[in-house]
């Protein structure tokens, strides 16, 4: 630790080190960069954090984060309301939006079922999803969940829960990523891709 730094700096480093991807060492570098560039970085960041804390809220419909509730996506009439894409966290929603491959609406679960970590259905936004899926006009729920044991366990659980909602439930395909060379792929991915092959 930076033993010679004052308590304010220590507190800043401590808080930064709690961010994902930042350990104590990176947090110290980040704190130093902020303090060195007070006008360009530190003060604008401080303002941005205050503003985000004051204005950003969770969308009551989909669970995404936005300054408005319902969020911009839920409120957008140009979005296809017959499609709901279920994602684990807001980060996955942003990834889908970056890809620009989906023009429907989202539902953020807030995590995954995890038998090992003891995360059960009550800890996730599953009830609201079932209610939304049962609404008139919804025709497909797309489960865009991670290809992990927990992700696929959650997907199967949701498929069961949505079975009575009268909607089509689909999952994302699994297989060779764009730019992926077979030589570098793991056995599981190659086998999944082989099973999911399609006519050329």
């Amino acid at each position: 630790m930076a033993a010679s730094a004052g308590p304010e700096i220590e507190r800043l480093i401590g808080l930064l080190s709690k961010l994902p991807g930042l350990g104590p060492r990176s947090a110290r570098r980040a704190a130093l960069a902020l303090l060195k560039r007070r006008e360009q970085l530190l003060l604008p960041l401080s303002d941005a954090l205050s503003e985000a804390a004051a204005r950003v809220k969770t969308c009551q419909v989909c669970g995404s984060l936005d300054t408005q509730d319902p969020c911009a996506i839920c409120a957008d009439p140009a979005r296809d309301g017959t499609l709901i894409c279920v994602v684990e966290e807001v980060g996955a929603l942003w990834a889908m939006e970056r890809a620009g491959a989906f023009r429907g609406r989202y539902h953020v679960l807030g995590g995954l079922l995890s038998a090992l970590d003891g995360v059960g259905p009550d800890a996730l936004r599953i009830g609201p999803l079932v209610s939304r899926a049962a609404e008139e006009g919804v025709r497909e729920v797309i489960l865009a969940l991670p290809a992990t044991v927990d992700g696929q366990t959650t997907a199967h659980y949701l498929a069961d829960r949505l079975a009575g909602a009268g909607v089509s439930v689909t999952m994302l395909a699994r297989g060779v990523p764009v730019g992926g060379e077979l030589d570098w792929l793991d056995d599981g991915t190659i086998a999944q891709a082989m099973r999911a092959r399609r006519p050329a």
Partner: protein, 243 residues
Amino acid sequence: MEFVDDAFVLAARAHGESGAIVELLTAAHGKYAAHVAGGGSRRLRPFLQPGARAVVTFRARVEGQLGSASLEPVGQGPAEHFDDALALAGIAAAAAVAAGALPEREPHPGAYLAFEALTAAFAHPEIWPAVFVRFEAGLLQELGFGLDLSKCAATGAVDDLVYVSPRTGRAVSRDAGEPYKDRLLGLPPFLLSAQARLEAGDVGAGLALTGHFLEAFIFGPLNRPLPPARIWLLDRLREAGRL
């Protein structure tokens, strides 16, 4: 210390900026926890799933240190069963039971072999729940609490063994157990012989049997409940009409 061994991943959690602490069940060295550098990376994270198989190279400067490991994936791992909800629940439960029951750094080759047999059985949906019961019975045996199913504890009879004493883990014949049958645990035939037909209710009886002894002899003394993953598995099997 350093060793190279076959292993299954039991659990992994993120550690630090890009690493992970991984619990491994190794073939010859038992359960080991290790830091895996880059375990949180895009390349390795997808592989660090319960049930994934690897060749592990473990290194620690001194005995007792957490140590670090590098892993070379082997085979498809749990991805093979992504389309099978029950098998996924089985993998999570097996990993959780092994992780919770086995002591650290104590060789238990039998536990590894039982886990290996179970992972191979997940490809056969009709039999793996029974193999899961045998896996748990194997774990109990490996840890010194094996069931004695060779003969009746009361009469010495070797035929018609249908109960197990919840106190001693010894088999009891139908005749000897009749007066106490409400207090005895059921003994499914597939635990006596691998060739026995699997009847309705056998898997449920087997899981109740191994669950009782895991709780009484392994998890209870550690002041831990049976892993939630195992309870979930029972729920899923019950919902699917497989108990």
